[in-house]
Subunit: 233 residues, 2 copies
């Protein structure tokens, strides 16, 4: 059997992927080192390294110095969601986009949010409430606390043309964050907005962002009934 020379890292990645899928290398087994594979494929070690790094990022193999590269036993299911800008998401559905600022007031942080959004006691927070529409029907309901000590300019914006979210995305960079998804009943207030029963289940996302440990904003987004967050992998 003649081994075809593979010299592109994507080809090598696919070949290694195939060997794992076909159980040529068993789960938990240590596969040959970079140098050996490079020799087999007739390419530089760097190229093999690139392919193996891609497989490691995908979770198919685990790599450790000295111990070598092993086929993952339980390849973790990883899924990357791209949280779209609401405006783009609505327009992608072919609907007309609009939004409306319902509330804008300096307020204290509800106690239950202290863990998720650790601002100090004396922090100045602006609370905003925004509804996003698709074809004049409510699409998403947003409740947001923003740290004015971190982004003072946020307090001076009229959110008629731009949304709080869009302004923050463009003007308040963040370095880390936390995202949570859960299900909740619409309840009294949201049931009126979405014109459904109070017991209607809604998909809710909460996101907190921070810049170098300085809390920027915390937002709860309640989506219209039937909303689905979807991704392929």
């Amino acid at each position: 059997m003649t081994v075809r020379e593979l010299n592109s890292w994507t080809e090598i990645r696919e070949e290694l992927h195939r060997r794992i899928n076909d159980r040529i290398w068993q789960p938990g087994e240590t596969i040959p080192g970079e140098a050996d594979l490079a020799e087999e494929f007739g390419c530089a070690r760097t190229t093999v390294s690139r392919a193996l790094r891609a497989l490691a990022e995908a979770g198919l193999v685990t790599r450790r110095r000295k111990a070598g590269t092993r086929v993952a036993v339980n390849p973790p299911h990883k899924a990357t969601f791209t949280i779209p800008i609401i405006r783009e998401e609505v327009e992608a559905r072919g609907a007309a986009y609009s939004h409306s600022l319902l509330k804008r007031v300096e307020a204290g942080l509800p106690p239950q949010l202290h863990a998720a959004f650790p601002v100090g006691e004396g922090a100045r927070l602006l609370f905003t409430e925004t509804v996003y529409f698709a074809d004049d029907r409510p699409f998403m309901f947003e409740e947001r606390y923003t740290n004015l000590d971190a982004v003072p300019e946020f307090g001076t914006i009229a959110f008629d043309l731009i949304t709080p979210n869009e302004w923050l995305v463009q003007n308040a960079p963040y370095t880390s964050g936390d995202l949570t998804c859960y299900a909740a009943n619409a309840g009294e207030r949201l049931s009126r907005f979405f014109e459904v029963a109070q017991e209607t289940p809604l998909f809710v996302m909460e996101r907190a962002t921070a810049n170098q440990k300085v809390p920027i904003t915390h937002v709860r987004m309640s989506y219209q009934p039937g909303y689905r967050l979807r991704t392929r992998f």
Copy 2:
């Protein structure tokens, strides 16, 4: 001002990240080419390339040949969820794990799943229903259709020690998939399992996997009331 020489790709990534955060390079602006940056930092172009690739994967910049590298205007919010093995998730909470197979029958695919799980008409499907417990309290309820034409051996397994999911993870590799999250009411059946009102909102995930376009399995996972899917970025 003396420019400190940066010769590690992570240092360079951080420096470029800082310049973007500090608006030294405006959103939408084209930043210097790899060769220029390499000269500035006193390192090889490969190293700058590595740093820029990382920023591109994070969505902070967009890169195109000839056009160069631009600072992203609306950095997309990306979040990677790691869908854990239920056994590990339960044990990570310090609870005792167990599971129970409730049902196991060859069945046809419900019409509403045809879009998400495109098996042919004559496909042999095994339907399994499994409850996962944490400390003897129901944690997750799983309804699964598995394509026996793709993984015949699946039909011969007694799922007392291993769960359908674990068996598939270890024995049926997949190359692509689709993940959907939404909120749903418990309804009659699940309300009895979780011992809650029928109107209780539950967090639901549906996952379909395929190997080279051959559908493998479709699973709906309904989590206990109050469950939250969480990730940091």
